[in-house]
């Protein structure tokens, strides 16, 4: 379960409106490498993690990503609050305004709505942890792109915090992967599944290799 605390993980106080920047930043809310995808990915994958460390790290990073989702949503909200429709339209948010007014809705920078197809939960801890390492790097790269597009220190400051967290998460996932690999044994990079073994047996029979 979760308990809500009435505070952000990192402060967001944006004085100047900038709808164009909001349109880019929203990709970390509902885009392919965004915080919603990250949180959902880790919180789903944790159920099938094999070690205490991996369960804890997925649980806790998945939880921190929810706090990041809130930070990104706050940035979008503050950047667009009270901006008239004609200005939103000029800044490339006409289509967004049509469907969502000034509300915060999970879409990518190009307007594609959030989909669970952005994430995987494979039941194979090695595959899942590798996906997570990649996800953290992709999110880091996205934050760097956003920092390159931004010129307001009020916007850049929380983006830098979020970027730094991706690096820490990458580090922790790498450590968890090492621990999991050690537990599964050096040779087992892939876990065999009973279904595949049965299939191999029936194949042998079919080809007359088994009496």
């Amino acid at each position: 379960m979760w308990i809500y605390e009435k505070k952000l993980e990192y402060p967001v106080k944006i004085k100047n409106k900038n709808p164009k920047m909001a349109k880019y930043i929203i990709t970390q809310y509902g885009g392919p490498d965004g915080e919603l995808a990250a949180s959902l990915r880790y919180l789903s994958q944790r159920f099938s993690m094999p070690t205490e460390e991996a369960k804890a790290i997925l649980n806790d990073i998945g939880t921190e990503e929810l706090a990041h989702l809130e930070i990104v949503g706050t940035m979008v909200f503050q950047l667009t609050k009270g901006v008239p429709p004609d200005v939103l339209e000029k800044m490339g948010l006409g289509a967004y305004y049509s469907d969502h007014d000034h509300a915060v809705y999970p879409v990518s920078a190009s307007g594609v709505p959030f989909t669970a197809a952005y994430i995987q939960s494979k039941g194979d801890p090695i595959a899942d942890l590798h996906e997570n390492l990649a996800a953290e790097q992709k999110a880091r790269a996205t934050y760097e792109n956003l920092i390159n597009l931004a010129d307001d220190p009020d916007v850049i400051d929380p983006l830098r915090f979020l970027r730094a967290r991706e690096i820490v998460h990458f580090q922790r996932f790498g450590e968890a992967l090492g621990i999991v690999q050690e537990k599964l044994g050096q040779k087992k990079f892939y876990m065999s599944k009973p279904k595949e073994e049965k299939l191999a047996e029936s194949n042998k029979e079919a080809y007359g290799l088994k009496k």
């Binding site: 009435k6 804890a56 790290i57 922790r172």
Partner: protein, 83 residues
């Protein structure tokens, strides 16, 4: 008063963040004694400050031990509203 409130909240946020960062580290280094004592130090400091904050300004969680009349949880500002 708004300034004082925000100052205290920022301090709580800083300690809580430090605790979260230590927590993640400890999940993969559960035998690091020094890190555990640092984590405990941040958590204890945060608890004291949160207690002070909730007495002075209102609840940080809905299950705050200092409920007052009328129900303060619904009072603004919400975290995304700080402007």
């Amino acid at each position: 008063m708004v300034k004082e409130r925000e100052k205290l909240l920022r301090e709580i946020m800083a300690y809580d963040f430090a605790a979260i960062d230590m927590q993640l580290y400890l999940n993969t280094h559960p035998h690091d004694v020094r890190a555990i004592s640092l984590h405990n130090c941040y958590v204890n400091r945060s608890r004291i400050l949160k207690d002070m904050y909730e007495r002075l300004y209102g609840p940080l969680t809905a299950s705050s031990p200092y409920p007052r009349y009328p129900w303060k949880w619904i009072e603004s500002p919400w975290p995304w509203e700080y402007q």
